[in-house]
Symmetry: C2
Subunit: 250 residues, 2 copies
DNA sequence: CCAAAAGTGTTGTTAGTACACCCATGG
DNA sequence: CCATGGGTGTACTAACAACACTTTTGG
């Protein structure tokens, strides 16, 4: 193995796929790049890992820099290492995703970004680098996780209605679910706390408000759940994916 | 971001966790390192990614160099990036696991290794670098995958008995399963082909031989399966894990 | 009184679990 | 004839799927 130094000239970056939920659609946070390469293009928020920095530390740092958020659920999804994926040199990137509540957050563009913005997932167009591929992989991953862990609750306000919870699941999974079966299922999980409060000021029968039980939540994250409800009749996608978000995965 | 070059001095390696199955135990392939650092220690077979090499190509290359195998099921599990994990400099490593049939394979140590050997999983001792952690994460991953995909068939000979298949599952999951329920389940998967052949020369009733249906296999890999058989009574581990293989995961 | 969303129960089906005895062969 | 592992069926339970009408509120 001659010329060992040639093996030590790689950059390492982390990219964050930050999902947020708003009304009934799943969004992803993108930045508009303020510098080359891909200046002016939308991209996932990410940055190079510093020398001597642990990659898990780096991703938390980047997330904090871009969103101000700490202590969020962060999940390493995969590493992307095509030799030409970055035009300025060899940079492999480690992708993470996280879920945040879109309302607890305010955008803080960095020097690399001149704009940060939520984008509905099905409207995402061509992104910088290989970020469309990364996004697709993370989205697949999110959907898989949603079936095995009670995540998704991260995306709701403190107090929520069962209908909001259901449309969150429908939004992420992109399919309709049966109302009665959905309710039966989530109530049986014993994860919800009935607050004995109701919506106010709505032009229909007001819905009961729930929050969820932190302790039980963490227990279920550990144990895993199985969330496999189907609505066979309407199992077609609610919305079509855009040209660039085609869930190709790998 | 002053001194950009300091960001481009990282090494990237791939490490392979190669599982093999033999009789009724799960094994992992380790090499004894022939060079420093950790000379003489057992380690996962891995190597640096070449400049201009795709990481997925690199892992296949390393696997081929070490085992002669091609076209095996290779699964990226995660990336490990503690800054001090390699004593000679910053090297992050991308871990993959694969499953092979222990009999189709012959060991070919490289210049870095003076010995390659199968180790029963529960006897693995302290390994070089952070390889114990990587092994634990891969083992967890294998067990998770085993419940969701019909992998594990990779580990059996072409023709096998249902008892062999069951002890494979028991060996990987490290728990006893109920014979009748196990058979009911796998036969319902319609994955097995009854060869109408029988074992010969055994000192007991000869078992029927099966192979499995390639097309159906690939279909099930796509669709995913749910393999959740329990034997509640005997749900204690068959074997205790060794000191260093403690499934800490992360 | 109308529009809009909330809320609620039953029945059939499928998948999982527990469990114990007889069978075919080689030595 | 005995030791060894191969092979089989049934009853109970839990989870899921299908499906339609009544309730409460604001305007």
């Amino acid at each position: 193995m001659e010329d060992i130094d040639r093996y030590f000239c790689n950059g390492i970056s982390v990219d964050n796929v930050i999902f947020g939920f708003d009304e009934d659609r799943l969004n992803v946070l993108l930045i508009k790049r303020g510098i080359d390469p891909f200046k002016g293009k939308w991209a996932l928020p990410g940055a190079l890992v510093k020398p001597e920095e642990h990659i898990d530390t780096a991703v938390a740092r980047v997330l904090k820099q871009l969103t101000g958020l700490e202590d969020v659920y962060l999940n390493q999804v995969g590493t992307f290492g095509a030799p030409d994926r970055h035009p300025d040199g060899r940079v492999i990137t480690i992708a993470y995703y996280s879920l945040i509540n879109i309302r607890n957050y305010s955008v803080t563009p960095t020097s690399f970004a001149n704009q940060s913005q939520w984008h509905p997932i099905e409207k995402v167009q061509e992104l910088a680098f290989d970020h469309n591929m990364i996004l697709d992989v993370c989205l697949n991953n999110l959907r898989k996780e949603l079936r095995n862990k009670p995540i998704g609750f991260n995306l709701l306000p403190q107090k929520f209605t069962l209908t909001q919870l259901q449309s969150l699941y429908e939004g992420i999974l992109n399919r309709k679910l049966d109302k009665r079966n959905f309710r039966k299922k989530v109530i049986n999980m014993k994860l919800l706390v009935d607050l004995d409060q109701y919506q106010e000021g709505v032009a229909h029968r007001p819905a009961k408000l729930y929050s969820f039980d932190e302790a039980r939540y963490h227990q279920l994250v550990e144990e895993g759940i199985s969330f496999e409800l189907k609505e066979s009749k309407n199992s077609k996608p609610i919305r079509q994916a855009s040209t660039f978000s085609q869930l190709s995965s790998i």
